[in-house]
């Protein structure tokens, strides 16, 4: 038996303006709402609406077809602000009962690495948002950019989740296969689902790559690889950005037709079926323990944290943001706190990555900056303005304290 598990990540950050030193003290508006709205609508037209329609048709026409999504909270916030039809379109999908939603941090942040308290709040906010919009209580967790280690698994287990998702990185797996359900080291109840990065990336990255020796990828060829797992694996975890469909791989690459025909082709083998992450966890016994001490992720070839914490600029920007935590929360200023959280979204730090900059386009996707250096300048200028706002708040708390004392 082989169960194919599709999980799509849906995320858009609140991109920042190219905030200059001359804006400090003059403008507290950090986010480029015009550009964010434009990008959201553009991706909605190319991906969200047509891909949702495709998935809905498949669920209706292919018995047993199931999928799962994780929506970042900042994506949902932007939909509510700029284009609520996108949410309605996803609700129509989740109403079928064949769609599972996965939890993550609301702000698509790296909070787990810096502040467990902040992490807890963002996970809770996300859970609330999913319950409110889709009426589901997620049982599976995925951390931002599939950043994962034993410590996170244990932490998430203690929160009551049944499963957690990670990258099936070669340097972790060694000889082992990603096509089983595992148990994270140090955990009893929670199960680990690993991305089959080869079969996932064949679709997500290589589908329209003409220099790839397997191009063009036909459903017959892909299905033969899926069937090849039969007998030596329980599940095939195809985890990818939802924007793969129509945005990373354009419609004229044939990606829609490929996905429209693939599920029925896979089901022609009676030993195959589709499952959601929760179903995998419930249906398959764990195939042993996986020990991941150093954090891994699904980024670049290194599959580590170097895409966000690989240079001094990234480290100093992250440090600045998380050092503010206590004073920000003490201000009790809702706008200030919300801005601070939106500044935590991992994309801001990803834009500062210099690793692949010389080679070109890996980090280019809707990157608003000319260079990682420019993104850092804008971010740090914002941090400066932010600090000034925070300073302004301070006298008021002391006034408050005085008033409280006088009472």
């Amino acid at each position: 038996m082989v169960s194919v598990c599709f999980y799509f990540q849906v995320h858009q950050p609140f991109r920042l303006k190219n905030y200059s030193v001359f804006d400090i003290g003059n403008s507290h508006n950090y986010f480029d709402s015009a550009k964010n709205k434009e990008i959201l609508n553009k991706v909605a037209g190319k991906c969200y609406f047509p891909a949702n329609k495709l998935m809905l048709d498949l669920i209706r026409n292919v018995p047993g077809f199931k999928i799962s999504y994780s929506f970042s909270g900042v994506f949902l916030d932007q939909c509510e602000e700029y284009n609520p039809d996108i949410i309605r379109s996803f609700q129509e999908l989740t109403d079928t009962g064949n769609v599972e939603i996965i939890d993550e941090t609301h702000y698509h942040s790296l909070a787990f690495l810096y502040s467990k308290k902040e992490f807890d709040k963002q996970v809770k906010m996300h859970s609330e948002k999913i319950r409110k919009l889709f009426g589901q209580k997620p049982k599976i967790f995925r951390n931002t950019e599939l950043i994962y280690n034993n410590e996170l698994a244990k932490y998430i287990e203690d929160k009551g989740y049944k499963g957690i998702i990670a990258e099936g990185a070669d340097h972790i797996l060694g000889w082992r296969s990603p096509n089983f359900v595992y148990r994270p080291k140090g955990c009893d109840r929670i199960r680990l689902l690993l991305k089959n990065y080869k079969l996932s990336d064949d679709i997500a990255f290589r589908f329209s790559e003409r220099s790839w020796k397997e191009w063009p990828l036909t459903i017959e060829k892909y299905n033969s690889w899926v069937n090849g797992v039969n007998g030596n694996g329980n599940c095939i975890n195809l985890f990818m950005d939802y924007e793969t469909i129509g945005e990373h791989q354009w419609a004229d690459s044939g990606i829609f037709d490929f996905l429209r025909l693939l599920p029925a082709e896979i089901l022609r083998n009676p030993d195959n079926n589709f499952m959601t992450p929760s179903e995998l966890v419930n249906n398959y016994a764990d195939f042993g323990e996986i020990d991941i001490h150093m954090p891994i992720s699904w980024a670049d070839t290194e599959r580590d944290l170097s895409a966000w914490r690989g240079n001094k600029m990234q480290l100093s920007a992250l440090r600045k943001i998380y050092d503010m935590e206590i004073s920000i929360l003490n201000s009790r200023d809702k706008k200030l706190i919300e801005d601070w959280r939106r500044l935590q979204t991992s994309d801001h730090f990803y834009y500062m990555c210099t690793k692949w900059f010389s080679d070109g386009d890996v980090h280019k996707y809707f990157n608003p900056y000319d260079s990682p250096y420019d993104s850092y300048i804008a971010f740090m200028n914002i941090v400066n303005d932010f600090n000034a706002r925070l300073e302004e708040k301070k006298p008021r708390w002391s006034e408050q304290v005085m008033m409280n004392l006088q009472k």
């Binding site: 030193v21 001359f22 240079n311 100093s316 920007a317 900059f357 250096y373 420019d374 850092y376 300048i377």
Partner: protein, 403 residues
């Protein structure tokens, strides 16, 4: 082994700018790759460099003009030449100079005919318009293929306004007569296509590179308190010095402990000094004059950031020199070098707000300075002159084969 007859206008140690630097780096690497080069230049020390045969036309036999001991630099306009010529009029040397720039150019062109008939070579290679007539003549006399190398056009030098038609015509004729036109960037290639109507198929882009001489200089400082922003280049319209001064004033509105050093000389020097004074930043802008040799590297090392605000820069070797010295750079997007370097900041020359923003960023955010210094220092290592020399070599082979 290719034998090249090359015409230049300046050559180290008698060099005042990028053209001489480029000719030096290129010929040195070409000769290392086995090319045999005869370098003809109005004034040079024939014993200064062992790797090529230098013919200074001021010491040539068998031509009527005994010397072209010229007051010219390749960057002069006609007016500047006349100005320089007037200064020399008073001295007893004046008889050897032509009355204007065009006469000088014609003298080199006549010398070229004689050299071309006497020397043995396979291909002619000319650097910039001052040598184009010489190249055309050498081609006519010898029948050998001609390669012209465009380091700058009249449109760059004049910023598009008030171009000298005589110069434009020489540039155009030279490019038309050439079997192949080399430009130092795509930026310049496009100008050559648009403004001179040259067939794109005849143009090859060969980006410049940088020499890796190490003067072993420690980082000097003006003071422990002040940060330093450097401008290094001719103080002339094309290089955008006025945008640098405007930017300085904007930076100083936000930060106090910054000094702006302007190294170089040129026709706008006086105006720039006045402008700094007008803006009330006369004490913050220091004019260091024209620098040479190790002093140039000293200036780069002293600086916290190097800015090249050029209005129109066909290539721009100076940012590479700054990066070689571990200094972060901010460069104009209107430059050829911005096509090839990544680990720097880029800005439109007219956007002085952004220029100031980026300067302040580098001065205020230590991590940014550190990353630019480190990554720029790594990136610069790939800019060896061997790369452009190899490209020139294959261009020679192709024009010789077609001829």
């Amino acid at each position: 082994m290719v034998k090249v007859l090359m015409f230049g206008w300046e050559f180290p140690p008698y060099a005042s700018g990028g053209l001489g630097t480029a000719c030096y780096g290129l010929t040195k690497s070409l000769s290392k790759k086995g090319a045999n080069i005869i370098f003809v230049v109005p004034k040079a020390d024939p014993n200064a460099h062992k790797f090529l045969k230098i013919i200074p036309t001021d010491g040539m036999k068998n031509i009527r003009i005994k010397t072209i001991n010229s007051p010219l630099t390749p960057y002069m306009t006609s007016q500047e030449y006349e100005h320089a010529y007037k200064r020399y009029e008073k001295s007893k040397e004046r008889s050897v100079y032509g009355k204007n720039l065009m006469i000088e150019v014609d003298r080199l062109a006549r010398a070229a005919e004689v050299i071309a008939s006497e020397e043995d070579f396979d291909v002619i290679h000319c650097h910039d318009w001052l040598t184009f007539k010489a190249g055309i003549n050498a081609k006519r006399v010898s029948g050998k293929p001609l390669v012209v190398h465009v380091h700058a056009t009249e449109f760059d030098r004049t910023g598009g306004n008030g171009r000298d038609d005589r110069i434009y015509n020489i540039e155009k004729k030279g490019m038309e007569a050439a079997d192949r036109v080399i430009t130092v960037s795509n930026f310049t290639k496009n100008k050559v296509i648009e403004n001179y109507g040259i067939d794109a198929g005849k143009i090859e882009v060969v980006h410049n590179a940088v020499e890796f001489n190490d003067y072993n200089i420690d980082r000097p400082k003006i003071s422990n308190y002040d940060r330093i922003v450097l401008y290094l280049g001719r103080i002339t319209l094309q290089k955008g010095p006025d945008y640098f001064i405007q930017t300085a004033s904007k930076v100083l509105n936000k930060m106090d402990n910054v000094k702006f050093v302007v190294a170089g000389s040129g026709d706008m020097e006086g105006r720039m000094i006045e402008k700094a004074a007008e803006l009330g930043i006369g004490d913050k802008v220091l004019f260091a004059g024209f620098l040479q040799g190790a002093d140039i590297d000293r200036a780069y090392k002293m600086a916290d950031v190097y800015v090249m605000p050029s209005v129109s820069e066909p290539f721009g070797i100076t940012p590479l020199e700054a990066m070689r010295n571990g200094t972060p750079v901010i460069i104009s997007k209107q430059s050829g070098v911005s096509e090839v370097i990544k680990h720097c900041l880029k800005v439109d020359f007219w956007d002085t707000d952004q220029m100031a923003n980026k300067i302040i960023g580098i001065l205020k955010y230590k991590s940014l300075y550190d990353e630019l210094k480190k990554n720029g220092g790594d990136e610069i290592l790939k800019f060896s002159w061997d790369v452009p020399a190899e490209k020139c070599n294959s261009i020679y082979k192709s024009v010789i084969a077609n001829g």
